[in-house]
């Protein structure tokens, strides 16, 4: 199961990275006499409402998602590690504050933060900059998800029998942290990283649905999915489902590569 998933994912990543060479057309060129066209030579997946080549847009959208979602996940995991490390301190107040901060971050209506970000950015901000910032913000906002897992793990470790054994053997705290605790956190970090990637791909998609994600004309999976809002239109033009199919495929692959939490702990 993991092998085909890895190969498929690698293929998607390559497709995304190679978009400038693979795409038959510029992603933003409006073939106005060909608007909403069916698949045909020159437009293997047809065109969208504005006559833009669907295949080219899908390839470029893949590029955005495969590059930026893992970056955002990395930011979240690193921040989470940094904050959760405080839980190792003996003070209960620190642990309590940490879990409070965690709870607050998890329950904040993040959508408003994105609205604020949009309103603070200059209107002439390059779409590339704005999409990078959007993902960076997702990464920062998302620290609480892995943060909770890390904090729980660290609190659990504080009571672990092996910690007592290591202390009784005279190990220095720094060695205990790096040699004993780190392997646990590292494997947890990998799991969290893989959980976050699809979450961020989907978040971008939801933001895109609200028109707050990646700005037109730059394509992303989110804004491509916005074209799927009328079921009977989709039914008549099944090729418009391609972005959704790709998203689902990537989700399934990532899911099958993610070890269950139980196995990780």
């Amino acid at each position: 199961m993991t092998r085909p998933a890895t190969i498929l994912l690698a293929l998607v990543v390559v497709l995304g990275l190679a978009a400038p060479w693979l795409a038959p057309n510029p992603y933003d060129h409006q073939f106005r006499d060909m608007a909403s066209a069916s698949p045909q030579p020159g437009f293997p997946m047809g065109t969208d409402d504005l006559g833009r080549d669907r295949l080219s847009r899908l390839l470029y959208a893949t590029r955005v998602s495969v590059l930026l979602a893992p970056s955002a996940a990395t930011i979240s995991v690193l921040l989470a590690l940094l904050f959760s490390a405080l839980a190792a301190l003996p003070s209960r107040l620190v642990a309590w504050t940490l879990s409070l901060a965690n709870g607050i971050f998890l329950s904040l209506p993040w959508i408003f933060l994105f609205i604020i970000l949009r309103s603070k950015l200059s209107l002439n901000t390059d779409p590339l900059v704005s999409v990078t910032l959007t993902f960076a913000l997702m990464g920062v906002a998302g620290w609480a998800i892995p943060g909770r897992a890390f904090t729980a793990s660290i609190v659990e470790m504080k009571d672990a029998g092996w910690l007592l054994q290591a202390r009784a053997a005279g190990l220095r705290p720094w060695r205990i942290a790096t040699a004993h605790a780190w392997p646990h956190l590292w494997s947890l970090a990998l799991v969290q990283f893989r959980i976050l990637i699809p979450a961020y791909v989907l978040s971008e998609a939801s933001l895109g649905l609200l028109g707050l994600g990646v700005a037109d004309p730059m394509p992303s999976w989110g804004n491509l999915l916005r074209d799927l809002q009328h079921p009977d239109v989709v039914q008549a033009n099944p090729w418009t489902l391609a972005p959704l199919a790709l998203l689902v495929l990537v989700m399934i692959c990532l899911e099958s590569l993610t070890p269950s939490r139980k196995a990780a702990l």
């Binding site: 409006q30 209107l123 002439n124 028109g211 707050l212 700005a215 037109d216 004309p217 009977d232 239109v233």
Partner: protein, 526 residues
Amino acid sequence: MKHILLLLPLVLSAAVPQQLRFAINGDPKMFDVLMVAESNSETIRYLTAGVLLRVNRTTDVPQPELAESFQVKEGGRAITFKLRPNLQFSDGTPLTAADVERTLRRALDPKSGSPTGDTLRAGDTAPEILVANPREITLRYKAPKPGIDRLFDSVGIAPPVQTKLPPSSGAFFVAEYQPGTFVLLRRNSHYFKRDAKGVQLPYLDSIRLDIQANADIALTRYQRGEFHLINKLDADSFDRLQKTQNNSVRSLGPSLDPEFIWFNQAPAKTLPEWKRAWFTSAAFRHAVSSAIRREDMARIVFKGHAHPAVGPISTANRFWVNAALKPPVLDTKGGLAQLAKEGFTLRGNVLRDKGNHAVEFSLITQAGKRPRERMASLVADDLKALGIKVNVVTLDFGSLLDRISKSLDYEAALLGFENVDADPSEEMNVWLSSGAQHAWWPAQKTPATAWEARIDKLELAQAAEGVRANRKNLVDEFQKIVREEEPIIYLLNPDYLVAVSPSLKGVQPVVVPPQILWNAEWLRFE
């Protein structure tokens, strides 16, 4: 045998259930006809409240209703209504001039906060109300009140006592209300109106308004035959419906609603002086306007269900539109020539101004409004031909409103109006340079340009002018100036699209509210 034949049509028509069903998108907030402030209550008010006169939506002429006649007097300062004899509310109580007086006084009472009162007042002062006898009432203003007759189209006569479901003076009354579910209107058996054969109106026994916020579900229920009409369709739904139920969709031609873009001309801190110089140049605005392919926009964004707009007044508004004006024509070369005269030069693919700044601006529009997002994309692409780079930014409505009306931190915006009235005073707060919604530079202390000063004069003059023909001349000149200066670049008027069940007869749809329902008492099923 003769008798049976005569009865036959009656028997047949009785076999068809005379209940009209359609969707409203939310609960009506109140049934008090004087307090209506939102569109769903407005629809119910229109169907239930009797009015002294009604503006015929097809001919635009005020016609008698509860009043059998009315007379505008003293050069537009006063109006006298003569009520029909033996009028009754839906509960059978008599309706006399005293009821009209009580209605007007309650509406005009500042404590009531009635929106109807606002339309009745002239500035801050209320008119004098004189009841001559139980069938005659006169209103007198201190100065001529423009459209003194037409304003009574929206003044519903209220019953003596406001109950939860009050009796009505119009064709229907509210019989039942299930919050979140439906409002049921029944025919008023005391309604005065009869058809040519003497049959009492309305023909319909009842109207059921189902509360359905989701337009897609409403459309599906229409397709299943559960609803008999949709008062406003978007282009996509229209096309989908056309494929399956071709005989039920109708395009009423251009609506009153314009879609447009404008540039920020206000001296905002965030707007560099050199950019403001472009935006305040009429030549720049004309060049932009002339490079926009409005036909593409109508075809691609509205599937052909839109027409290039001529200006603030839609061609649908047959009386008030300046017929001499035609939509701007595509002329990129002409646009470039105009820009060259202003010192702009096209080098490579980039237009540069006198100061060698590359011409680039952001165009904001409302996130989630697909047609506007698409129009903005098309504009951005069209303006490449002039060497102008446009960055389209979609914003949530709150931020958008804040930028265009408060912070003025924007460069250009693409929006539209939904006009609910054909009267040219409707957009007064947009056109007066002191107006809060004076789009390109709100709330100016004194008009920034001579042409804005002239528009101020024309707007105020037309509002005060009692003679319709004179008023039309003023409004025509106003439209001509807007075209010459293009402070707002008009793009399209989307067509007004409706769906009506073919079994519903007597339909005379119009683009002004309440569209299909405007002659509800004449509608029937066959």
